[in-house]
Symmetry: D2
Subunit: 365 residues, 4 copies
Amino acid sequence: MARTMKAAVFVEKGRIELREKPIPEVGPNDALLRITTTTICGTDVHILKGEYPVAPGLTVGHEPVGVIEKLGSAVVGYQEGQRVIAGAICPNFNSYAAMDGKPSQDGSYLIPSGRCGCHGYKATAGWRFGNLIDGTQAEYVLVPDAQANLAPVPDGLTDEQVLMCPDIMSTGFAGAENAGIRLGDTVVVFAQGPIGLCAAAGARLMGATTVIGVDGNDHRLEVAKQMGADLTLNFKRCDVVAEVMKLTGGRGADAAIEALGTQQTFEGALRVLKPGGTLSSLGVYSEDLRIPMAAFAAGLGDHTIKTALCPGGKERMRRLMNVIEAGRLDLSPMVTHHYRLDDIVAAYELFANQRDGVLKVALKP
Amino acid sequence: MARTMKAAVFVEKGRIELREKPIPEVGPNDALLRITTTTICGTDVHILKGEYPVAPGLTVGHEPVGVIEKLGSAVVGYQEGQRVIAGAICPNFNSYAAMDGKPSQDGSYLIPSGRCGCHGYKATAGWRFGNLIDGTQAEYVLVPDAQANLAPVPDGLTDEQVLMCPDIMSTGFAGAENAGIRLGDTVVVFAQGPIGLCAAAGARLMGATTVIGVDGNDHRLEVAKQMGADLTLNFKRCDVVAEVMKLTGGRGADAAIEALGTQQTFEGALRVLKPGGTLSSLGVYSEDLRIPMAAFAAGLGDHTIKTALCPGGKERMRRLMNVIEAGRLDLSPMVTHHYRLDDIVAAYELFANQRDGVLKVALKP
Amino acid sequence: MARTMKAAVFVEKGRIELREKPIPEVGPNDALLRITTTTICGTDVHILKGEYPVAPGLTVGHEPVGVIEKLGSAVVGYQEGQRVIAGAICPNFNSYAAMDGKPSQDGSYLIPSGRCGCHGYKATAGWRFGNLIDGTQAEYVLVPDAQANLAPVPDGLTDEQVLMCPDIMSTGFAGAENAGIRLGDTVVVFAQGPIGLCAAAGARLMGATTVIGVDGNDHRLEVAKQMGADLTLNFKRCDVVAEVMKLTGGRGADAAIEALGTQQTFEGALRVLKPGGTLSSLGVYSEDLRIPMAAFAAGLGDHTIKTALCPGGKERMRRLMNVIEAGRLDLSPMVTHHYRLDDIVAAYELFANQRDGVLKVALKP
Amino acid sequence: MARTMKAAVFVEKGRIELREKPIPEVGPNDALLRITTTTICGTDVHILKGEYPVAPGLTVGHEPVGVIEKLGSAVVGYQEGQRVIAGAICPNFNSYAAMDGKPSQDGSYLIPSGRCGCHGYKATAGWRFGNLIDGTQAEYVLVPDAQANLAPVPDGLTDEQVLMCPDIMSTGFAGAENAGIRLGDTVVVFAQGPIGLCAAAGARLMGATTVIGVDGNDHRLEVAKQMGADLTLNFKRCDVVAEVMKLTGGRGADAAIEALGTQQTFEGALRVLKPGGTLSSLGVYSEDLRIPMAAFAAGLGDHTIKTALCPGGKERMRRLMNVIEAGRLDLSPMVTHHYRLDDIVAAYELFANQRDGVLKVALKP
C-alpha cells in the first residue's frame, strides 16, 4: 500500500483542490476505508464559499462508500476487504449525549473540555468527516469509533444505490420522523432538492397520504412526483398557504418539513400548519429566523418545532439500506452525474451552480 | 332564582365594569354554575388594556369554582348542588382536533365553517370563557359541553386550594410536561409569576432535580424557592446563561420553560439549553419572535420548541386536584388577596399593577 | 318513513335470525342511519356460537355504511341524506377514559356507576353496536354520540371501498401502530385473516421493510402477498421461529402482531422477537394465556406486549378513508361475497365455515 | 500493586467462597477499579442456589463503588485515583441493540455470532458483571467499555449513598419509567423489597399522587411509607384488588409495578389495572406466567405489559446520582448491615434468609 493519497482539500475561500496527503495511521478503535464512491453535499458548497468555516488543509466530504483497508486492533466483527458505508455523522456512542438520546450532538473526545469525562459536549460535534477531521473526498478516509460506525453493505446493492444513505436519506428521513407522521397525515415539504425529496419519500413511507412538494423549480417538482410527492406546488405560480388550506378543507397540514434553510421556507412551513401541527426543520440557516406571531397563534397554538442533524451509526445505516434492499425506494435516479476524483474541481463547479439538472454527483477515486 | 346577575363586563379599552345581565338559558349539553370563587388572570389584564380583542359586552374571566345550579337535559352523572370546577379551556371533545390529540385548539361549534362537520377548527378556539362566550367573573356562568368539562371537587378541599387548577396550574404543568422532563434533569424556568411558579413546581414533581427559577423580582424569587425551585437567579444581577453553564459543568440545561411571553425570556430559554434540549413556551407573545442562529446551532442542534395552550376537561382537572389532595403541592399561598365581586374594579387595579406583592386574587360574588 | 324495520337478531346460541323491530327514536345527541352496506365479523360468529354473550333480542353487527336519516337536535355540521360511516367502536369522547387516552374503553353512560360522573368506566365498553346496543345488520341503526362518531364518506368512494374502515382496517392498523414500527423494521404477522391482512398492510404503510405473513392456509398467504406481506410462511410446512431467525440473521423480528387469539399465535409472536421487541396483540382470546419463560427472558428482555380494541371516532375514520382515497391501499378485493340482508342466515353459514375462499361478505338491506 | 486479589467465587450450587485470583489485565477500552464498597443482590442469591446458572469459578456481584486503579490506553477523560461507580449492566453502546434503544440487551463482543458485526445479540447480554465476566465482590474488578460505563461520583456523596445506583435504584426507577407515569396517577407496587421500594420512590418522584405499596411483611410496609408509598396494603390481611378498586372509586390503578417475579404478584398487578392501564414488570421469573383472561379483557383492554432489565451507562448513573445529590431521595437507610469482604459467607447467609430486617448489606474489601 502506498504512503500517500489524493484528497480534496479546502485551501481557502473559493478553493477546494486535490492534494497529496499521507494515508492516516489506524488507532485501536479506528478503521481505514478505501473510498470507492463518494459525493458532494450542499454543505460542502457552503465550505467552499467560506460560509461554513473549516480549517485550511482539511479534506472535505462526508458521504463514504468503500472497502475496509485496515481495522483497528480493538474493532471486532468486520473483515478487511468488506464493503461498508459510514454515516456522514459518526457519533461517539460512548458519550453522554449519545446515551441521552442525541448522538449526533457529540464527538466528545475531540473537545478539550470533554476530557473531564463528565460534561462538555457541543452542538453538532458528532459531525466529524470534513468538519473536524479529514473527510471522504479522498482515496482513503479514517473512520473514528469504527465499531459503532461501520455498516456492511448487503450483497447485491451497488455503490450508487447506497450513496445517499450516509447523509441525504438519513437527514431527509429524520425530517419525516421528527414530523411525527401518522397514518392519513397531510405533509407539506418545502424545497425539493435532494434532502427535500428524501423527506417527501420518507413521509410517504411512514404513512402520510397527502404529501405535497413545494419548490420554485419545475424540474425538481417533476422529480418530486416520481420520488414521493402526491401533489406539487410551484411557489412562483401559486399562494402555497392558500392552496394547502384549500386542499385540506381549511384544516391545515398535520406537519410541514423545511428542507432548505431560509426565512421564506421556514415561515411557509409554519403558516400551512393546522393548530397543533409540527414544523420539522432540516435546513442549515445562515441568518436569524423570525417567527410571525399570527402563524404562531401568539404562542398558544400547541405547535412543535423540531430541528435535526443527520442521524448516524451502523444501526441507522442498516435500516436505511433495508429500505433500499426491500425495494421500497430507489434513490439511484438522484445520481445524475459521475466524475473521477481527479476532476473534483469541475464536479464542484457543476454542483455549486446547479447546472444541467444536477441532483447528486457520484465521485470515484 | 333571580332572572339577572352581576357580571364583570369588558366595556371598552381600559374599562371592565360590573353590569347586570340575564342569567343564561341552559341547553341540553350545558350546565349552569353558581360561582363561589373566581380570580383574575394576566390574560384578563391584556383584555382590559385592549391588547387582546374581545367583543364589548362580554363577561370576562375563565377560572371557575362553583356549585351546579342547573344541568342540561342530556348531562348525566352529576347532581345539582354539587361543587365543581371547570377548566379555563372547555374543549369540545367531540371535535376533530380533540380526537387528533389537541383538544384546546377546538370549540368547533362556534365556527361557521365548522358546521360542515368535516374541517374548520381554529387555533385556540377551545378557550371559550371570557373569550368567545361569557366568562366566570359573574354570579353565574354557563359551562358548554358540560359532560366533558365539569369536574367534581373532592370533599375537604377549599375553593382557594383548587382555584389555580382551571388555568395557572394546568398551564404551568403543561409547560413541564412539554419539556419532556426525565429523572435527573436540570430545568430553567424563565419568569416566576404564577404560571412560572407552577411550571417550576411541575418540573420538580415530574423528577427534575435541579430546578432553576429566573426573574428580576426578588420577592418572586423568594416565593419560587418555597414553591419548587432549587436555585434562583435574578437576571438583573447575573448573566443567566453563564450561570447555568457553570451550574451544569458546561453541559447546558436539559429543558427551559418560558413563562412570560417576551423576546428576552424566549431567547434566554434557548441559550441555556444543551444541544438537543427542549424549549417549552407558555407565554402569550405580542410581537414576532427572533431565533438567534448561534443559539439555534444554525438549525442543526436537534432542538425542540413547543408551545401550549392550557389543557382542560374533567380528567385533567381530576388529576390536578389529585396532586393537591395528596399534599404534593399547596398553591393556596399564591392567593395573596381577597375581594368581593362588587369590588372588581379595585381588584383589577391592584392586580394589573402588581402592587402589594400580589400573586393571585380570590374574587367571591 | 316506516315504523318498523328488518334486523338480524341474536335469538339464542346457534340462531341469528331476521326479525321485525321498531325503528329507534332519535335523542338529542344521536343520529339514525339508513344502512346501505354492512358486513359480518368474526366476533359476530362468536356471538352466534354463544361464545361471546349478548342479550337475546339484540340486533347484531357493528360495521355500518349508510345515509343519515335523522339527526338529533344537538348534532351540528351534518345533513340528513349525507353518506357516512361510523366506527365499530363508538366511544363517548366526553368520558374520563377518552380524555385519558383510551376512548375505546368507555361508553360510560351505559354503566350505572358511571352516573356518579367521577369514575366507573369498564373495559371494552366503547364497543356498543351489537354488543351493548342494537347493531348494524338491520335496515336502520342508531348512532350514539353522533357528533363524535359520524364520519362523512368522500365522494367517489364506494360502499365496498370503505366497508373495512369501521372495524377490520382500524383494528389491523392499530396492531401496526401498537407495534411501534420504525423505518426498516422486520414485522411478523401471525394469522392472515381479514384483520391480519390489514395489520400486514398497515405495517408496510408505516415503514416496515420486511413484512412476514404467517398462516396455515395457502390461499390466505397468496392474498397476503397482494395486500402487504413481503414474505409468507405456512406454519404447517416450516418452523416459523427458525425461519424468522434465519431471515433476520439471528437478530429476531422488531415486532410481531398476533391476529387470531390463540395460545399458538401469541406464543409464536413472542418467540420470533428480538430482545427488546414488541408483541402487538389483536386477537380475542377465549382462554388464559401462558407466557413461556425462555421466550420472555425470565422477565429481563425489555419486552413490550400491547393489546388493542379497535379505535373509533370520526377523526380515525377520516384518516382511514384518506388512506383509501389516496390509493395507498385497496381493500375492496377483501369483499369476496355479496348477500342481501334477507339472506343473512346463508351469509353467516358461509362466513362461519370459511367456505368458498370467503374473506368478507357485503350485506345490503 | 499485588498480582492477586481476593474474590467471592461461585464454586458450585450452594457455595460461594472467597478465593485468590489474578488481578486482571487492562485492555485499551477497559478500566480496573479497586472496589471500596459493593453489595449483594437477590440475583446473587439465585446464583448461589443454582437457580441462575453461571460458570463455576466466576466472581459474583454486580454493584461496584470504587476508585480507578488503571485506565485502558484508549479511555480518555478520567484519572487514575478518581472515585466512580459503574452500572450493574455495562452495555456495549457501540452495539446494534444499543443504537436500537435497548442497550441492556447487548454485550455483543462476548457472543461468537456477534463477531459477524451485523447481527447476533442476545437477551440480557448487557449484564456482564458476575454473569458473563468476573464481578464486583472482589478487591478489583475490570470494567469493560469503560468510556461508556465509568461514572464519576460527585464529591460529598458517600459510598453508601451511591451504592444503590448501579442496580436497585436504576431497576426500580426503570419500573416507574416503564409505567408511563403521569401527574396524578395511582400506582400500585407489588412487593416492597429493595427494588419495589425504589420503584415506589421513583413513581412518586415522577408525579404519581397515590402510590400504594403491597407486601406481606409489615416491617417492609413501614419502610415503604418512609421511602415513597402514600398507602400500604398487607396482602395477608386484605383483598388487594378490592382495596385498590375502593381507593380509586372503581376506576382501577393507572399502572402497577411488579417487583418480585411470581405468578401471584404478576397477576395482582394485572387485576388492579384500569382498562388501558400498564403493568410494568421488574421481577425475575422462574416459571411460565399465566395471564388470566378476565383481567386481560380477552385481549381487548388496551393493556400494556413491559419488562425491564436494569439500565446502565454513565449518563444513567449521572442522573441517578443527581437525584441523590439534590436530596430528592435518600437510599442510605436501605443499607441495614455492613460486612467485610472476608466475611462474605456470613453476609450471604444473613441476606439469603432475610434475617434481622436486612434490606441491603454493604461489603467492603
